[in-house]
Amino acid sequence: MHSDYGVMMGTARGQWVVLLSVLVAYVLSLVPLPEVLMSARPYWLALVVMYWVLALPQRYGLFFAWGTGLLLDVMEGAILGQNALTMVMVSMITLKLHQRLRMYPWWQQSFMVLVIIGIAEMMKLWVKSAIANRLPSLYMLMPALSSAFLWPWIYAILRYLRQRFNVS
């Protein structure tokens, strides 16, 4: 009981793994792609942040999501707060559901990722269409599809890294 408590609230270990994974997510979301693939670019940052919120909800939560989202706004040149808002939304849903999500088999997790990132993409579209004349189309759900497709791999890779470097 006592040691369990120590693990729960002990000093953070291996935070560089988390920072590195976020950095890789940033680079992947900025790398130039051909026109065709561009509209289906997965929401990399949301995937990575979702994993860490799911794995270590006592350490990574809304502030983490907000900060990483804000930096993505600056990198993408989006209006300040657009990604911050959607990332907070994503991590809030993940936090609310984390105990259930952990129990799900991979395909069910992927489906939940589809729903959560679908909601995130819709919020992004609301912000964009409020500030500029963007045409809403169902293509905006492509990132949610590709993200859901990639989730099992992201999950496996990050879980391996977390166990290998004892991130807590």
Binding site: M38, E76, G77, R134, L135
Partner: protein
């Protein structure tokens, strides 16, 4: 109104290394392909460039005479003299990852004298304008962005209108042009300098389609931009000295 602009500007400095990192694969690839290009190819290219240089020099000779003549004629007309435009070369270090936004990031910022609203060109025409400046990089909205508008005129007939971006990478629309306006397919469009933002006389694009729909109040006219918006890495920042 814009309290967050300095915050954004400094955050941009903080994330610039990440943008460089994201650009690295493309940069490395072009370095590698440059390093392994064959000798005969280089010789061939060298010969071609020499020939082209000769042609360009001949055109410059003519241009100098014409410029001198133009200045003399303007002096006769008592109009103000337009000074020569200064340019600075910048390199593209990123594109906006959002497919619905036509923006590029260049590697010059306020430290190099870049300012908001500055016109950006390439060798073939107008590319866009600077919409965000941070100390070491800046963001350029291309003419094809859905929120871009440029005052333009037809080179042949002098008809003035506004060219609007469509959000598609190879199409501009001309706004509110009457059906009787003298515009034909193939006409060259140049910047008219009316908005005081883009300088006069740089090529903007070629008219590719003119549709006169009796049911619409205005003609629908499509333009293909002259600048190579999604090719090449170098752009020109324009410093006009007319003021």
């Amino acid at each position: 109104m814009n309290y967050l602009a300095p915050v954004r500007s400094w955050l941009t400095v903080a994330v610039t290394p990440v943008q460089w990192l994201a650009d690295m694969p493309v940069r490395l690839w072009s370095m590698v392909s440059d390093a392994f290009v064959s000798r005969s190819l280089i010789q061939e290219e060298n010969a071609r460039l020499k020939a082209k240089n000769l042609i360009l020099q001949q055109q410059v000779l003519k241009l100098e005479a014409l410029t001198a003549q133009n200045i003399r004629l303007k002096a006769l007309l008592n109009s103000t003299e337009t000074l020569e435009d200064q340019v600075k070369v910048a390199e593209i270090i990123g594109v906006n990852p959002d497919p619905s936004v036509q923006q590029i990031i260049i590697n010059k910022g306020s430290q190099d004298g870049v300012f908001l609203g500055q016109a950006v060109l390439d060798a073939t025409g107008v590319m866009g304008q600077v919409v965000e400046v941070s100390p070491f990089s800046s963001r350029v909205m291309l003419v094809t962005d859905a929120s871009s508008r440029i005052p333009a005129e037809v080179n042949r007939s002098g008809v003035r209108m506004i060219a609007a971006g469509t959000g598609l990478p190879d199409k501009l629309d001309l706004l509110h042009v009457s059906d009787t306006a003298d515009i034909q397919e193939g006409d060259l469009l140049t910047s008219s300098g009316m908005g005081q933002r883009f300088p006069v006389g740089y090529p903007l694009g070629k008219v590719s389609r003119v549709v006169h729909d009796p049911g619409k109040a205005f003609a629908r006219i499509e333009v293909v931009p002259a600048a190579h918006l999604n090719r090449g890495r170098l752009v020109l920042l324009l410093f006009s000295e007319t003021e």
